[in-house]
Structure formats: C-alpha cells, structure tokens
C-alpha cells in the first residue's frame, strides 16, 4: 500500500518534471528560432549530409563537377521537402523539440571541438570536464566552508569572529568575477607569480605531473576569487539558519532535558536542517555544471560557460539548444532524485497526509 502510494506520487512528479523540461526546451527553441537560425541548422546539416554521400558514393565517381553539383542540389531539395520545410513553423517546431529531447543534438554551425569535430555532443563533452574541475570543486569547497563555518559561529554567536563575519558578509554583493579582476591585477600584472588566465601553460607540459601542476596553478585565482566573494556570506546565512533553528521548542526541550551539547547539535539541529541543506548542495552542484559565463570569460577558462558565450556570439544555435536541453534534463533528474529520497524519508508523503 505504502509502496504503491510512493510510486504513484513519484510517477506524478516525474511526469510534471518532464513536462517542465519539455516546456523549457520549447521556449528556448522559440527564442532561438525567431531569428530563423534553427532552420539554418537543419538546412546546413542536410546539405552536408547530401554532399558527403554524393561525393563519397563510388557510383557517382564517373560524373563531372557540374553534374555532381546538380545532383546534390536535387537531392538536397528533395530532402528539405521530406523534412517538411514546406510546412508551417508551428509544426516544424515540434520536430526540433523531439530532436532536442531525444538528445539528437546535431552538428554545430561554426564551433568545433579541439579535435576538430562539429558534433555538438563531442564539443560539449570536451568542455564539461574543465568546468566540473573548476566550478564543482569551488562549490564543494564553498559548501563545506559555509556548513562548518556556520555551525562553528552559531555556537560562538556574539564572539568577535562572529562580528567580523557579519561585517564582511555585504562584500558578497560583488560577484566572484569582480574579485577576479583585482586578483589578476595583483597576482598576475603586478607580482607576476600566477597566470592571467587560461587552463594550462602554453605550450602544455608533456609530463603528466607537470601538466597537473600547471592546471592547478591556473585554478588558484578563479577559485580564490569565488572564495573571497562568497565564503563570508555563506557562513553568515548558514549561521543565521542554524541559530534560528536552535531556538525551536524541541531544541530547547532537549537542552532542558540536559542532553550533551554535542548530541543536541547532531540530532536536534543538524538532522532536521539536513534536507534543505542537501537540496541546496545538489542544486548548486548541478548549477555549477553550466559554469560561470563571466568568470570563465575573465579568466579565459575553456569551460561550458565560455562555450555558451562563444555559441551565442556566433549564433551557433545547435550548441545553445544542446546546452539548455542537457542542463534542463540534469536539473529535472536531480529534483526527481531529491523527491525520491524525501518520499522515502518524509513521513508525510510515506503515510499519505497532504
């Protein structure tokens, strides 16, 4: 009975989430298509496919250049008709949607991967590890600094450290890339001890260990800029969050019962606050996947964020749509997994009280 209820609930949430992704992708396609760019993607792709198949087909080898060209044009026009370009956009937009949703991401118009491929999926997969390396690391560090710093300060509430952190919190109003500018000036321009940007020295070291070391050196400034920007605010909000929670009645009761402080903190403060914290962490990590467009631009980091920027600047719509689709899917999957976990853990859903 219980399992059935949970399954039903999850199925309903799953459908809703999927529809959300569909709608978001459709909105993206609508935005990108108003300039007529999605049409161009399809047309260029068809032309490429037709001409390669004609030029590589041994059966046509005997034909001269003009005959080949004529053949290509003929086949191309047939193919365009077959794909339904004579249909109104309203119908076509659903074809694009289906392609995007089945992760049939197609080929980029202008961008190519370092290995020279135009395949959107390959381009994306090449950039993804760079972004994960930098921003997922940064977000994890920030998360733990916030969590432990917040716990620590909520115990030391009112101390001098607490006051200093509260005082520094407003500095998080400035984004990470902004601190990045200053760090570049200090450490790259003036002191000349760290690189201006990029991911690895040029030319890249051949030795694997030196390569890793060079990447690490390039990671210092971007990570530092984010830590400076967001640490204090993270600690401050977590501290306030814990403090508000530690004023709850059940915590007071536990304290009144004379339970050891450590136990109170673990079982009565940390445990009930865990779900929102976990939600927070998982959503930040997913968001970190899209990189940070501006930080990556300032530090010239070859990640997904910069890819998006380059794609937008070059009107490379397949890449843009591909990025949005993958991000939307990942976000939806994460939310779904969280719902699954809570469905199992949360008694209200387990028992069926709305």
């Amino acid at each position: 009975m219980q399992v059935k209820r949970i399954a039903l609930y999850l199925a309903r949430r799953g459908i809703v989430l999927f529809l959300t992704v569909v709608a978001a992708v459709y909105v993206t396609i609508l935005i990108a298509n108003m300039g007529g760019y999605v049409d161009e993607i399809i047309k260029s792709e068809v032309l490429f496919r037709v001409s390669t198949s004609v030029y590589q087909n041994p059966a046509y080898r005997g034909l001269n250049e003009t005959a080949l060209k004529k053949l290509v044009t003929e086949l191309y026009e047939n193919e365009i008709k077959r794909l339904g370009f004579d249909q109104p956009f309203f119908i076509r937009s659903f074809n694009y949607l289906a392609d995007a949703l089945t992760l049939n991401l197609g080929r980029a118009l202008f961008l190519s991967s370092d290995s020279g491929s135009r395949n959107v999926r390959i381009i994306l997969m090449e950039r993804l590890p760079n972004t994960v390396l930098l921003f997922t690391t940064t977000q994890l560090i920030l998360f733990f600094i916030g969590l432990f710093g917040g716990l620590y300060l909520s115990r030391k509430y009112g101390s001098r450290t607490d006051k200093i952190v509260s005082l520094l919190a407003p500095f998080s109003a400035l984004p990470g890339w902004f601190y990045g500018l200053f760090l570049i000036i200090i450490f790259a321009s003036v002191l000349r001890i760290l690189p201006y940007g990029g991911m690895v020295d040029i030319p890249p070291p051949t030795d694997r260990f030196e390569y890793a070391l060079s990447v690490l050196r390039h990671m210092i400034l971007p990570i530092m800029s984010w830590l400076i920007a967001y640490s204090f605010f993270n600690i401050y909000t977590r501290r306030t969050f814990f403090l508000i929670f530690s004023k709850e009645d059940f915590v007071e009761v536990a304290k009144a019962k004379g339970l050891p402080e450590d136990l109170v903190r673990r079982r009565y403060i940390l445990r009930p606050t865990l779900p929102p914290i976990v939600t927070d962490l998982s959503l930040t990590l997913i968001a970190s996947w899209t990189g940070a467009v501006i930080t990556e631009t300032v530090f010239n980091w070859p990640g997904v964020g910069r890819l998006f920027y380059e794609a937008a600047a070059l009107f490379d719509t397949p890449v843009i749509v591909g990025l949005v689709v993958i991000y939307a899917y990942l976000l939806a999957i994460t939310v779904f997994v969280l719902e699954l976990v809570y469905a199992i853990l949360d008694p209200r859903i387990r028992i069926g009280v709305s």
């Binding site: 990108a32 300039g35 407003p170 400035l174 500018l181």
Partner: protein, 469 residues
C-alpha cells in the same frame, strides 16, 4: 500601520553606522546622476562616446588621470597645443615678401616644458593654401640646450598631418646623429618623441636612464610661399601623459564621460529591475496563493519552467540574437525573472497569511479578492520585501556590467561595464594601465556595497527573528 512600521524602520536604520555610510554613498551617486543628466545630455554623451578619433584627436591616447601625478610624486606632462593661426604668447608668424610673388614665411613656436616625464606623442596638423605651386616648408626642432634637429622638409600639397612620433626616417636620422655624437647606438628602439625631449648625454642610450630635458622648446618653421595667395598654418600638439580626472582610453576618449553617464544608467537599471521584479513576483505569488487550485497549479508549473531555463545564458541568447539596447535588455531581464524562485517564497508567505484571522474577518465583511489582496495581504508583505529589493539592486548593477564585459550589452551607451570591457580589449592589465579598469570597478564596488549595507541592515530591522540572533 504600514507607515508606522516604515517610520520605525527608518529610525532604527540611523542607529546602524554601516547603513548610514551606505545611504550617504547612495545619495552621493544620486547627486552625481542628477548632475550628469543635467550637464551632459544623453545624446551628446552617446555622440562623444561613438565619435571615434576625429573628435578626440587632440587628446592623448591611454593617458592617466591627472591625479596620478600626486600619487607618483612626479609631474606627468599635460597636453600642449600651439596653433599658428591663433597668435598668443610664444607663437609668432611672420610673412615677408621676397620678390614679386615669392614670400618668406617664418613661424616660431615656443613652450616651456617643466614636467618630469617625456610626452606620449607629438603630431603636427597643417593647413595649406596655394594656387599653382605648393609652398616649401622646413620644420626644425630646437631643444632648450640649443640642439637643432631638422624634422622635415616638404611641399604640402594639401591639408594634412605629420605624425612626428612615427616618422621612421626621422627616427633613423636621430639614431645616426646620436651615433656621431656618442660613438654608440642606443640600446633600444629610439622613437623621435624620446630623442626630441631627452637630455643630450649618454643617458639617452639606455631605455632606463633616459631623462627629460626641462626648459623652453621651440619649433621653428621656415617656408617659401610661391603664390601670392599662398598661406600655411600649423598646429603643434604635444600629447601629455595625463588627461582630465579619469584619463583616456585607447581611442583617446575621455573615460570621465563614461564614468559619469554610467552612474544614472547603473542606478536606473538596478532600481527598476529589482523593484519591478519583486513587485511582479509578489503579485504572482499572491494570486497563486489566494486562488489556489488550477490557477495555483498553473502558476507553479510556469515558475518551474522559468527555473529550468538557465537565466544568464538565456539572456545572452536573447540579447545577441536580437541585438537589443539596454532598456530592452532590462525588459527581458524583468520578464525572465518575474517567474523566478521568488514567486515560491511569496506564495508560501501568502498561504500563511491567508489563514490569519484578520483576513477571515475581511472575508466575513464580504470583501472581494482584489480588495483583500491589495489592501490586506500586500501591505503586510511589503516591509519584509524591502531589504531584499535594496539588496538585489547590487545584483542588477553587476548584471549590466557583466553583459557589457561579455560584449553583448548595448554598444551605444557609455557604461561602467563598457569601460571595463574596453580596458580588457585594450590590454590594460598587461600594459599596467590599471586606472582604466580600476576606476569603473571602484564605482561598481561602492555602488553595490552601499546597497548591500543598507539592505542587510533593513533585513535585521524588518525581520525581528534575525534581530534576536
């Protein structure tokens, strides 16, 4: 009741020092904005900013702000302009007949140079008038110690400019002259600007030891005017290394214009975005909570769609694809964020309020939905919104700057972000032209910091739960 809450709030704001500082800075920025809008009309600012080199030809390239002189403890040269068509002290122009049609022209320009550094560039712009044969012109440079250097001998066929600093033939003649004098070539690539202004001893041979010669410099021009109607005038521009209170960029433009105009634009952009987004989100949240059922469900689903759309990438996409100006960008930002995560927060707050007794009472009196939402629900929520609104102004100020830095903001409008982008593009950080990046960055910093300070203080005041802890 609401007004008393706000009045009390304002009173307690005054008791926080940081908030006072923040408020003072905001007031100052508002003052600057009012001054700017009054002093430089928007169209004029755009024109000056888009004008290109012709408008700014007499301003030095990449010049420091004037106050740099005080920091470096040395007098950096300012731009010196002498025009032979505008007689003044130190500018002499004489034309003496020498025969029936031929006249001799003599222009003498002198100026005192008392700065501690060599100028950045020297240009001579000339105008010429004649019927058949162009005048013959010889220009000579005389340093304070009497060294005479012949710059150029030519027949100007039409109005033009002599870019002295990049005259390769003059540069090689100067190197030759120094070799004859000291028996050694300079160890670096000597430019005419340096050799015309440096002390004439062995120090000129090394880049690090070159020193500027102080004193009165003279430009002497002799010419033969071959027609009766013939005339020749020139304007000498010795470009300095400082300009205005904010310096110039790679296109010789006065950065001050962009810094001034960036202020009203940043404030307007930030305020309009944060206020309207908060109000719209609240309205949507209120409707969602009040009506519930299908309406609530629909609004929640739409909100989730907008949360799935990555905000900045979508904004980048819209603004590059449609090439929109800054106010349309603002509109797109508002649309994209109107259904943001904030809707969910407001909805939760309204759901709680909806059950409270005074709302029950209002319902019992037969009040309609619009009346209850507008007169009873919204006023209760506004005080808790204000801190977030003030705080988020900073986010939007930076958003505008970020878009400009990515090169997808409005290219026409001079803004702080635009200056930072230009400075990146112009390699300011590599060349050590820090003022170029740092001045707009500093303005961004104090703007957002002051809003954040006020916002956080308001948060403590309006949310008593935070005040306790």
């Amino acid at each position: 009741m609401m007004s008393s809450i706000i009045a009390e709030g304002l009173k307690s704001v005054a008791s926080y020092k940081s908030a006072l500082i923040g408020a003072a800075i905001i007031l100052m920025l508002v003052g600057i904005s009012i001054y700017t809008v009054a002093a430089i009309p928007y169209d004029e600012a755009v024109r000056l900013w888009r004008a290109g080199e012709q408008t700014w030809i007499e301003a030095p390239r990449n010049a420091y702000p004037t106050w740099y002189s005080y920091i470096l403890q040395k007098r950096l040269p300012e731009t010196i302009i002498k025009d032979s068509s505008k007689p003044e002290l130190g500018v002499n122009k004489v034309i003496v007949p020498a025969g029936e049609t031929i006249k001799v022209l003599r222009i003498e320009m002198s100026f005192a140079f008392d700065y501690d550094d060599i100028p950045s560039e020297i240009n001579i712009f000339y105008t010429v008038r004649y019927n058949k044969s162009a005048p013959q012109i010889t220009m000579t440079w005389i340093k304070p110690d009497g060294t005479e250097i012949e710059l150029r001998k030519f027949n100007p066929g039409s109005d033009g400019a002599y870019y002295l600093s990049v005259d390769a033939s003059l540069a090689s003649r100067e190197v030759e002259r120094l070799v004859n004098k000291f028996g050694q070539r300079p160890s670096y690539e000597l430019t005419p600007t340096v050799s015309l202004f440096a002390v004439e001893d062995r120090s000129i041979l090394e880049r690090d030891t070159v020193t500027v010669m102080k004193g009165v410099y003279r430009l002497s021009v002799e010419g033969l005017l071959l027609d009766p109607q013939s005339d020749f005038d020139l304007k000498l521009v010795v470009y300095g290394k400082v300009y205005g209170w904010a310096g110039t960029d790679h296109l010789r433009r006065d950065i001050g214009i962009a810094l001034l105009w960036g202020t009203p634009i940043a404030l307007t952009f930030g305020l309009i975005a944060s206020v309207s987004i908060a109000l719209i989100q609240m309205a949507i949240g209120a409707v969602s909570a009040w009506f519930g059922g299908v309406v609530d469900n629909f609004i929640q689903r739409v909100t989730e769609v907008f949360i799935v759309l990555p905000f900045l990438p979508t904004l980048i996409m819209v603004s590059t694809l449609y090439k929109i100006d800054i106010w349309t960008i603002l509109l797109v930002v508002i649309i994209l964020l109107s259904f943001g995560p904030g809707v969910k927060n407001y909805r939760a707050v309204f759901l709680q309020l909806k059950e409270s007794q005074y709302i029950e009472a209002a319902k019992a009196f037969g009040a309609g939905a619009p009346r209850i939402i507008l007169l009873h629900l919204v006023p209760r929520v506004i005080p808790t919104m204000i801190p977030a609104i003030v705080y988020s102004v900073a986010d939007f100020v930076f958003l505008e700057a970020a878009l400009a830095i990515l090169g997808i903001g409005d290219p026409r409008t001079p803004t702080w972000g635009k200056v930072i982008e230009d400075s990146f593009y112009g390699g300011a950080l590599f060349k050590g032209l820090y003022y170029w990046t740092l001045q707009p960055a500093f303005l961004l910093l104090i703007t957002s910091l002051s809003f954040a300070l006020v916002g956080l203080t308001l948060d403590k005041i309006f949310n008593p739960r935070l005040r306790e802890v």
